[in-house]
Structure formats: C-alpha cells, structure tokens
Amino acid sequence: MSRSIRSSWRLFAVILSLALVSTACGSDDDGGNNADDGDGGGNAKKYSIAYVGPKTGDAANLGINILYGAQLAVKQFNASQSDVKITLKEFDTQGAAAQAPAQLALYKDDASILGIVGPAFSAETKAVIPELQKAGLVMISSSATNADLPNVVNPETIFHRALPDDKAQGAGIAQFLKEKHAGKSVYYIDNGDDYGKPLADGVRAVATANGNPSKGNTSINEKDDLFSAAVNAAQAAKSDVIFYGGYYAAAGKLSKQLSDKGVTATFITGDGSLDPGFLTNAGAGAEGNIVSCPCNLATESSTGALKTFTNDYKAEFTKDPGTYSSEAFDAANILMKGIKAGNTTRPKLLAYVEGLGTYDGISKTIAFEDNGNLKATTVYFFVVKNGKFAPLTNTDEL
C-alpha cells in the first residue's frame, strides 16, 4: 500500500471516528436532561419540555442560570409524583439570533416536546416566534424583555414571559429615582444596542418628566476596556446619579473607572448588570451601586419559597442561583403543572397556559396579559453590599 493510500485510509478512519462520536453526542443531546432517562419509571407517562437558550458563548452565564432553574424544577417535579415523567431537552442557541433557527429545526418537529422554557434573549426569541406560532409550541421566557416581542406576529398566542418588559423596567427605575433621589440630576450612558439604549432613553424620558433633570447622555462600545471619553463626560456633567444601560462586563468596568476618577455620583444600572461579573469588574468601588431587575433574584437574604429555592439550588449545583433562575423555575413548573393536568398535546398545553389565570410562583404571582406579557410590573432593586447583591426594595414598596 502506497504512502498516499495509507494516508487516505488514515484520514478516512479519522473522519469516520469523528462521525461516530458526533452521532453518539447527538443522541445524548436528544436525551437532554437525565432526570428520568432509563429510570424504569413504571407506567409513568413520558413527555418533554425544552430549554432554549445559551449553554455556551459569551452569554452562557445567564443561560446556565436559566437552565439550572428549569433543571431543578424538573427534578423536583419528577421526584414528587410518579404519574408523569418530564424530560428537559436542552438546545444551545449561544443566545444569538443567528444560531436560533438552526436549533429551532431540532426541536420544532420533536413531537415529544410540548412547551419551551425560553428562548432566553430577545433577539433570538424574535427570530423564532413566527415558526413557534406555526408549530403551536407554547413558550414561557424567563428573560426576554424587549417590549416589541408580543407584536412580532399577528395573531400571536404562543408568546409568554415570566417577567415585566423593558418598558416596565424603565418606568420602574424612573419611579425609584423619583422616590429615592427626588429632584436629583442624572447623567445617562448606554451601550448603543437594542437593549441598553432603549432602556436608558426610556428611563430618561420618564425620569425627566418626573422632576429628575437630565445632565446629558453618551454611548460606549462595550468591547472596549477603557471608557475615558464617557468617564470624562460624566465627570464634567457633575450629576448626582449616573445611569448605565448595558451589560455587566462593561458596567463593572465603567463603575470602576468612574470611581477611580473620583466621581461620587450614585451608579445605577439595569438587569443586564445583575451578574457576579459586574462585581468582579467593578471591584471595591461598586459598594453602594444599585442594580435593577424585573426579575426577583434569589439570594441568601430571600425569604419564604424563594429562600427554599435558594437552598435547594445551592445543594444541587453548589452555587448560588443567578439572574432569572427563579423565573425559569416558575416557567418550567407552569408547563409541567399543565401537562400533569392532562394537557398532553401542544394545542392543549397552549390553551392551558393562555387560560392560566394566576400561578403562585416562587419569584412572583404570575398572570399573563392577552399578549403574553406579565400583568405584574414590579421592578426589584439590589444594592452592592460587602461585595454581593443584596435586596434593596421594589416598586411595590416605593
């Protein structure tokens, strides 16, 4: 056998091996969560729900928070009764709209999947809503907050979310400014994208009308490490408060650079910054910074069912729950409660969620508007205290 032929055979063998490994991995993915796989669940009826969101990529942290919340819900549900066994199938979109259609093709036609926890982010949700509507596949997102999502298709029935949208968050932050920083001036910085800019602009419009004068605004590029121009502009503005609309990594660096520059204005930012990465990047200067979220973050200071969830989550995953974990837990439980009640086809489960009424979740009482938005508009505020996020207040208490 000539050297070139041997090389060809070697190459063929390598490709064949990779194909076999890939096939094996693919079948493992299809199995998703192993909460009930091969457990010999007797006569239990088996159904699936899906997690759709990032497991890898830059947004993986937030995705893992959601995934773990859903996994814990499924595990506890399966352990609590023996009639129905739920499998959580996981589809990694990397949180990107570009990846979402490829994953959609994997779960849309899987008849065992009756509902979705997710998609996680607004852009990826927007990309798949039309197809989900065609497939009649009900979704409850624990984290997609773009205000326009209910209007992507008309008529729309499948869209639901377990937290208020960005418009509600903007109004909530403006309310917080009015009550806790009455008459104080605000300088606005945003990241220029579809999340950060509308949020900052929304807060600015309402807060200015509420009597918190704006001292100006600017945008940054979150890929940068240093935001000298924005920091200098904010310093020159001499505002009492600085609001940042954007994500945690840049928010942390911005907070630190403002602090290093001697800026003493109160730093407030939105839910995109409610992540430990904010604390890491901001360092000691973050003490007293305030982060808002339409989500109800489960922390060590939480009480009641949220405290129990915190303890269970920590025991299961050896880490604290993160942003949107409690909402994902609620979303999964709503779907599983519907399935347990006999809604074991996609149309039936969709009808169940549409007619949910109220569900007493661990994060909040969940009731949906006709367009799938959450009726409640409560926004929660957390303050950085001793290097951790601690509950501060919420708009119901203001």
Partner: protein, 299 residues
C-alpha cells in the same frame, strides 16, 4: 497613548513572525491572553488577591517585575509550543500558506475555549497594584502613575528589541532570514533556530504587554486577547507589516487616533474614526506608514 503602547508590544509579535515566515499568526492574541493569566496566577501564588492592599516601595517594584516576568514566561512558552506543535509540522510538509492561516485561527479558538472551560467566561480581576493617583497634567489632562509605568516599560522593551535585532548575532540571523531564507541558510544561519527565537521574542513581548495590561486594566477573560490582537494586527499593518519600528509607530498612532476619535465624536465612534484613518493611509501607502521589510531594517 497607554493602550497604544500595549498595541505596539503585541504588534511586534505579528510583525516579527510575518517578517520571518510570511505568516499572520492569529493565535498571537491568545499568546497575549495566556500571558495575562500567567501574570494573574503569579500574583495569586504570592498571596495577592483582590482583597490585598496595594504594595509600596521595594515590594511594589518586586511585584511589578514579577507580574511582567510571569507574563513573559507564560507567553514565551506558549509561543514556542505553538511553533513546535502547530506550525513546524506544516513547514516540514511544505504546506500551503492557507494551511498555516487556518491552523493559526484554529489554535486561537482552541486556546480561547480551553481557557473558557477551565476558568469560566467571566473576567478574573487583578488586585490593584498601583494607586490611580495623578502624577502631573498635560494641557489640563491628568496623567496617572499607572499610565507612566505602562508607557515607560513598553518603550523600554521596544528599545531592547530594536537593539537586539540590530546588534546581536541572532538579530542579524532574523534579518537575514527575513530578507532571503535560502541564502541565509547557505550562509550558515540555522533557520529553525531563528524561527524559534522569533516566536520567543514575539511571545515575550506579548507577555510583557499582558503584564502591563493586567496592571493597568486589572481584568482578564478567556477572549480578552481577541480585540487587542485585532488592534495590534491593525497597528502592525498601519506601520508596515514586517517592520519593527513600523509596529511601534502603528501601535502608538492607533492608540492616539482611537482616543482622539472617542473624545471628539464619542466612544461609540472611536473604532469608526481609527479604522477610517487606517483605510485612508493604506490607500495612499499600501505598505503602511514605514512600509519597510524586517530584513531591510537598519539600526
């Protein structure tokens, strides 16, 4: 200016490797990233975490030297490993340029994901080593101590490299190989040795940049080298790829252009401004500002 100094140090790695091998080593951004992790781990090894108070006096000097040296060692070692495992086998087989390019991109992604899996996707924080105190002002703009340390150290390293390439036997070997590898080999230059030395030099400078980056920016994450790699590559092209002094000029020019663009137009326009200038410069000077090859550079 401060970031420009860091761009310039990284750009030297691109330009040296390109000058000798005609290879754009896209994994060089991860050589920088690994250097920053090396610097951070060295700090952890001597008990410096984010809760540690900034050191003073001789301890401070010792810690700063350690941070930079650790970055240099980590990056230098990785650069050699990349050369041995990824590029040398391709050279031995006479692989086409495209194979080198794809291998470099593959190595870059591989290293990013390995570090993401091992150390997570969030940034890791450096302890504060230098207080953000203002040393002096230029036209009313405050210049902080860390900025002086970064720029002065970077210029020192660049000068050392310039002298090394111009005055030493190995430097002459690098220039000879860059100019005409076959003739250099006939004249007794050990090409493989020169290539390894080139990778070590590029790696060590990227590691030095990584240590200074850690001291100044104070965080690092798995993909923290990517943007700096792109910017440094841009700086190398702007100055004239393959030209040591061009890389220096390109790095500082890009840093200043970015800062100017951000100040005049706003932070979100910084890259638009800097890259527009780059395109305009290349239209009129396609070989970059200095446009000279490494082999023809003179002391």
């Amino acid at each position: 200016m401060t970031l420009g100094a860091i761009y310039a140090l990284i750009a030297l790695g691109y330009t040296l490797v390109y000058g000798v091998l005609r290879l754009i080593n896209f994994a060089h951004s991860e050589v920088f990233m690994v250097g920053a992790f090396g610097s951070l781990f060295a700090l952890h090894a001597i008990g410096f975490d984010t809760a540690h108070a900034p050191p003073h006096g001789l301890v401070l000097v010792g810690v700063l030297v350690l941070v930079v040296l650790a970055g240099m060692i980590a990056s230098g070692v990785l650069a050699v490993v990349l050369e041995r495992l990824a590029y040398r086998p391709l050279r031995k087989r006479g692989a086409p340029r495209l194979a080198f390019l794809i291998t470099a991109i593959g190595a870059s992604l591989l290293l990013q994901e390995l570090f993401a899996l091992r150390y997570g996707r969030n940034a890791l924080a450096f302890p504060r080593l230098l207080a953000r105190s203002t040393a002096f002002k230029i036209f009313g703009a405050p210049v902080q101590v860390p900025q002086i340390v970064v720029v002065a150290s970077a210029i020192g390293m660049m000068l050392a490299l310039d002298r090394f390439v111009a005055n030493t036997k190995l430097g002459r070997g690098i220039r000879a190989t860059a100019q005409d590898p076959e003739t250099a080999q006939l004249m007794g230059v050990n090409i493989n040795r020169i290539i390894v030395v080139t990778f070590i030099l590029g790696g060590v400078l990227a590691g030095g940049a990584a240590g200074l980056y850690g001291i100044y920016v104070e965080t690092i994450r798995y993909n923290g080298g990517f943007i700096y790699g792109i910017k440094a590559f841009t700086a190398a092209v702007l100055g004239g790829i393959g030209n040591v002094r061009g890389a220096l000029l390109g790095g500082f020019a890009l840093g200043l252009l970015e800062n100017y663009g951000a100040t005049v137009l706003g932070g979100e326009w910084k890259d638009v401004f800097a890259f527009t200038i780059l395109v305009v410069v290349l239209m009129f000077r396609p070989t970059g500002l200095l446009g000279e090859q490494l082999g023809r550079s003179r002391a």
